[in-house]
Structure formats: C-alpha cells, structure tokens
C-alpha cells in the first residue's frame, strides 16, 4: 500500500490482539496458502481470541485445531511450509514453545541452508509472550534471546496495534521463518489506529518513538509503555530521552541504534527478560563496538531479574516499571 493509499484507507481503532486477528484475516483473504493452526485456534478462536472468527470465515481446512503437541505443531508446519504453504502456527503461550524447541532451532531456520535453497520455510510462529497478567507458572516467559541467538530465524515483537498488523503481514510474506512474539500484557491495554486492508511494517526496522538528545533508551514489547512514560516524566525534570522501540529483535536495526547513541552518548536498555544473557547485553556490545568514542556513561540495563519468573503475587516486583526505568535513565544521564 502506498503512502497515498494509506492516507485515504479507512482506519479502525483496534487493540493489539485485534490487530493480530486483523493481520491474519487480511493475509488469509489475500493468499490461500496462509493457514492458521494450533491448540484451540479454531472454534474457540484462541485462548486470547487472536484467531476469533477465522474458523467461521476460512473453514477448518485453513484454521486448524491441532492435538496438544508443540513439536508436532512446529514440525508439521515446517513440512507444510516446505511444500509451499505459509503456515502461521500459534503456540498458546511462549513458555510452551520449549517442547517444540528442537523443531524451532534445528529445522525451521536451517532447512534453507541445508537444502541450499531448495526447501524453504516461509512460516510465522506466533506466541503470546511476557508477564504481567496474573497468569500461572510458565505463562509469563520472555525468552526472546533464545530465538535471537539462532541464525536463520527472525524475531519480531510489536508494541502497538498498527505495528502488530503491519509486522505480522510482513512476517507472513517474508520468505523466511519468523518468530512473532506478542506482548500479551498489552493485548487489550489500549487501542490504536489500524488501517483496513493490507500494509507492511518491514521487519528489521526500529521506530523512534520519542526524539531526544540526552540519552537513548532502547526497548520493545510491553516495556515500550512504561519506558515512554518514564521518558515523559523525565522530560519534566529536564532530561530529554530518545525512546527507540526496536520492534525487531532479530535482525536488530543496528543503524538506528548506533545513530541514536552517536547523538546522545548515553543509553539504557529496557526489557522484561532476565538480565544475564538477555538482549540488553547484545545491544550494549554493539554500541561499544560501533560507537565507543561517543560513549559518556555506562549503558544501563533495566531488565527482569535472574530468577524464575515468580507467581503473580510478586510479578509486579519482577517486571520493570516506570520507576525503575526512570532510575535507569537517570543513572545513564547523571553518570
């Protein structure tokens, strides 16, 4: 869709999860090869209603309830993709991707390499991810770093309804496998304008959510909101933070990341994933590799703790919140 079209296209006001649904419906209507599969995605419309109505609209050959078996879901989807379909399997919660981990890392990303391009895997593996919704154990995982470490995968994490639909469409059209993690904390937290019809938000491109000159704050997913709030709060104190929503955690938009840091010389990375081995480390390494001479302060990591995600009575203490993010930004600035 050209800029022209987009300007004139009707828009809807959707939540993030509705934008997922709209993205799926849009691509399914356009391309018969797109099929949705997973646990409870059919008549039930998904446990978060992300596939609501698709079963009725596209039938049970294209919106398929599978047995309860994640390796089976990913593995059969790999086979389907090799035959030219574009499966969009859902894993009910990202904490349940692990039983399918072998298929996710050993096959989804490697079939292209292994076959020197004869067989490809144009699939999108969707999963609600992250904490904050008072869910039971294993329902709050944020382990995007696992997938970002695996060559051949792309990993996308949207934070707005507009991006969600556009990135999901881009992911479905992408000739390579994409892990599409949806921050379920903000599935219904707010609405945003979403154009009707098709448009793409390209993978691999970060978005500058707030321009600023004092410090660069990198984040993604559900953490974008407290981060932006913290930035606004700090603006009142005279700290002008640039907030960058990475959107794609693999590949990272190194250009945007580095450019921002060259401007500010200070940075804070915010994610809910555990600190050690999380993506904040990778981003820090990139910054000091590419722009050490601009660096004026240690890069702050405001992240989840290195503990198993606690049951919900304590989860608000685990998740980075506005106060912690603001502290992190201040530390970067005041060093």
């Amino acid at each position: 869709m050209s800029t022209q079209d987009r300007a004139t296209a009707a828009t809807q006001s959707l939540t993030l999860v509705q934008a997922v649904r709209d993205g799926l419906a849009t691509e399914m209507a356009r391309d018969d090869d797109v099929i949705v599969m997973g646990e409870d995605v059919g008549e039930n419309g998904g446990v978060f209603r992300a596939t609501e109505g698709l079963y009725e609209e596209f039938g049970d050959d294209r919106v398929i309830d599978t047995p309860l078996a994640e390796s089976g879901i990913v593995g059969t989807a790999v086979g389907m993709a090799a035959m030219g379909l574009k499966p969009v399997p859902e894993i009910q919660f990202s904490g349940f991707m692990y039983p399918g981990f072998d298929q996710i890392v050993s096959h989804m990303p490697r079939l292209r390499t292994r076959s020197r391009g004869r067989f490809t895997v144009p699939m999108v593996l969707r999963a609600p991810y992250g904490g904050g919704i008072r869910a039971p154990e294993h329902h709050s995982e944020s382990k995007e770093a696992f997938y970002a470490h695996e060559a051949g995968l792309k990993v996308a994490i949207p934070s707005t309804p507009y991006d969600t639909k556009g990135m999901l469409i881009a992911a479905i059209r992408d000739p390579d496998p994409v892990v599409f993690l949806e921050p379920k904390l903000i599935y219904r937290a707010f609405r945003g304008d979403v154009p009707e019809g098709e448009y793409e938000v390209p993978l691999g491109e970060a978005a500058v959510r707030r321009e600023g000159t004092d410090v660069s704050v990198f984040t993604y997913g559900a953490m974008a909101r407290p981060t932006q709030a913290a930035a606004e709060e700090l603006a009142e104190e005279g700290i002008d933070a640039e907030v960058i929503d990475l959107r794609s955690v693999s590949p990272l938009d190194r250009e945007t990341i580095v450019e921002s840091f060259q401007k500010t010389g200070r940075a804070c990375v915010v994610h809910e994933a555990p600190k050690t081995g999380g993506l904040a480390g990778e981003i820090t390494a990139i910054l000091q590799e590419e722009a050490l001479l601009y660096q004026e302060a240690p890069i702050q990591r405001v992240t989840g703790y290195d503990v198993p995600y606690p049951l919900y009575a304590l989860e608000d203490y685990y998740m980075p919140n506005e106060a912690r993010v603001a502290d992190g930004i201040r530390e970067a600035v005041e060093f």
């Binding site: 039930n44 309860l68 390796s71 089976g72 904490g95 869910a135 407290p226 703790y305 989860e315 203490y317």
Partner: protein, 360 residues
Amino acid sequence: MVRVLDEDGAVVGDVPDLDEDELVAMYRQMKLARHFDERAVSLNRQGRMGTYPPLSGQEGAQIGSAMAMAADDWMIPSYREHAAAVVRGLGLRDTLRYWMGDERGNEIPDDTNVFTVAVPIASQIPHATGMAWAHKLQSGGDPDSAFLCYFGDGATSEGDFHEGLNFAGVFDTPNVFFCNNNQWAISVPRERQTASETLAQKAEAYGFEGVQVDGMDPLAVYSVTQDALAKARDPDEGQLRPTMIEAVQYRFGAHTTADDPSVYREEEEERRWREKDPIPRLESFLRGRDVLDDDRVEAIEASVEDEVAAAIDDAEATADPDPQSMFEHVYAEQTPELRQQAARFAELRERHGDDAFREE
C-alpha cells in the same frame, strides 16, 4: 470399561472392600471437592484469586484413585488434582494460596508424598517415571511404593507422555499412569486429539496393560487403581509393573476460570454427562445401604462448608510473600550476581516504596 455403579448408583460390578467409614469418607471428600470448587470459582469471579482450573465432575476419578493409594505411595499431579491432593494430606489453604499466586502454596510438607503442580502439559510424566525408577533402584529392585501420575486426555498427544511411558515399560518402574479423560483439552474434543479408539489402548505401545474405567464411578476407579498400584509394587511373574488407566469422565465447568466452554460445546452434552455425576451416584448407593440419610448428608454438607470457609479465611489472612523471596530458592546458595540483584532490588524498594510496584 470397568464399572461398579450404574448411573443411578445401582451395583453392576464388584464392590470394593471398603468399610462404612471409608465409604462415607469417600462421599465426604467428593462433597468437599465440589464445594471447594464452587467457592474457588467464585473467588476468582470476585477478583480474590487468579486463574483457577475447576474440577467439578471429576471428583469420582480423583477421590477414588487417591483413596486407593497406600500411605507410602506417591502422587504426581497435573494442575487440576486439588481433590486428590486433599486426600493425600495437602491443605485446601495451600491450594488456594498457590492459585492466589503465592509459591508457598506449593511448599509441600516433608511427610506428604505429593509432587508439585505441573503446568506444562505431560511434563510431569517423565518425572513420575524417574521417581518410581529411583525408588526401585534405591530399594534394590523391590519397591514398597507405587507412583501414580495424573494427566489429561490432551496430555496423551505430547512427546513427554510417550517418552515417559516408554521408559516405564523398559525399566519396569512401579508406576500407575492415570489419565483423567474429561473429554476436552480446553476446546479440543477427545476425538480430535487422537484417532485411536480408546486412550487406554495406547499402553500397548509400551508393552504394558491399559484399562478403561468409568471415571465418574468412584468405586470402580478405586478398584482399578488399587489393583494397578498393587501390581506396580508387586507384580505377578511375567507381568510388567506399570499400568495406564483411562478414567472416562467429564469436566462440568470451564477449562479454567479464563475459559468459556459455551463457545465450543453444547449444553446438551454437559446435561448428558451430568446424569453420570459421581456424587449423587455414590449417595444413592450409600442411602440404599442405609449408610447415609438426610441428616447425615446435611451434617456433611455443613461440615464441608465450614472447612472450606476456614481454608479461605486462612488463605486470605496469610500475608503476601516477601518480595525478596523471589531471589531465594533459585540456587541452594545465591550467586554473587544474584546477591547483587537482590541488594539492588532492596534499595529500589527502599527508595520508591512497595506501592510504586503494586500500583502497576
């Protein structure tokens, strides 16, 4: 399919050898479970508890099987066996605390042979096999205890079901694999979960016996489970120890309080299954034997209500867990990095006050 009582509570099989007190205890446990379940669902509705997986309809399978266990046997649950856990000695208060998001609810007392709740479907099955196998090795090949593992119909599709049962067959471990086939895995009906006619027949793939039992007939469940446990501990010559039991039953309510079954199943189906409700069934049987009458039933109902009310009070009166406890039990001894994170967290709480976190 093994059955002792028909849908009206009339005897159609061999009544197991339980005395009156035990039969009344079985009845009371089922009433307790049903009432607890109703109250738990309403706690959730009122925002006093998080997501909760109800068990109404499944009392017969849970209580029947748990009562068949000997003191030294072990129970390895999924996430829905609150009723069975009570029989094994776990407090209702702990179950409530767990679903209120407090890890301490999962702190099973040392003398209680119950394993922790398992959320990833079927993942507890290899644990159960490993526990039984360890016990067999530790006992020099002559185990005293059997290890009963619960899981659902949906769980039979997972790789861990397959691997766990296959190991049990190969190493001849003292296990009972107890499948609570409640006809649904959230919205996916049993028929779409697998093309095999019964779930019990899946045991053939592992070389041991599979039994199908009416899971809403607590006496039948008791019998079948008792036999399986006995075989696990002390099989006949040439018999393998493990058994898979498929207890055919129905969950009357939603999958969890976050689920709405009206989206995917007919009320008519529920009505049909409600006719098999294990509680009136056992009640008829006991009334027929003059073990129960209106007075006793009423007394039981009253005591059950009191017990549940007290457990709820107790759970709600428990102070929230200490936020610093998040950093405990990660390792036996904190790593330096973790110590530092815990210290920074303490500073943060100091600086902002706990309300800054709880508001979010």
